[in-house]
Subunit: 117 residues, 2 copies
């Protein structure tokens, strides 16, 4: 297993962030890591609504988030600890993550309204 690559803050590209978060499952994963403060094992995130994301897909979603510069991953014993790089990304692209995550949150709310939840 090769060591994990994390881009330097100045190498983070807006298109990589948009691409990473344009998949709603990755957006959910990122939202949970972001709101949980800093640490969560990958496997804790495999249940997505009513279906389970296979390990291999989860692993590649984490890779996309990591290489976009959105999260930092570190091996701790047998499991992986993931923390968001929100503060760094915020300093480079002010308001970007808040706007994106806010848009997702409001579209979920709007949907819940329409389906009467």
């Amino acid at each position: 297993m090769r060591p994990l690559f994390h881009p330097a803050i100045e190498d983070i590209q807006p298109q990589a962030i948009l691409h990473a978060l344009s998949d709603p499952r990755r957006a959910v994963i990122f939202a949970r890591i972001r709101s949980a403060g800093c640490v969560e094992a990958c496997s804790a995130l495999s249940a997505m609504g009513d279906r389970i994301i296979p390990k291999s897909s989860l692993s590649s979603h984490f890779k996309v988030l990591r290489e976009a510069g959105l999260i930092h991953c570190e091996r701790h014993g047998v499991e992986m600890r993931n923390r968001s790089r929100c503060a760094e990304v915020e300093s480079r692209f002010p308001g970007l993550l808040a706007a994106i995550m806010g848009a997702y949150a409001s579209s979920i709310d709007a949907n819940a309204c329409r389906t009467g939840e």
Copy 2:
């Protein structure tokens, strides 16, 4: 040629916007339509830096932007008029477009700095 589909404002999804703008060429096209106020023919946007985008690719980029709800297209005689739907998108997802386009603008500036332009 089938009629052009434009999503209603309440059907616009954040993932579609992020996906549409995660391609830097589409982001440039959108930035130009957005800053040009409202109207531009598709072909006016085919020169992208030093290379030319083929018509067929341009057409599908416009389709992605249109179906994401970012632009409104209308045939006027032989050409197409495109205007941004910024105001509508802004009312649904406040701050989103400004943050995304701001991120692109600042990453281009940062790159220009590094390459000494």
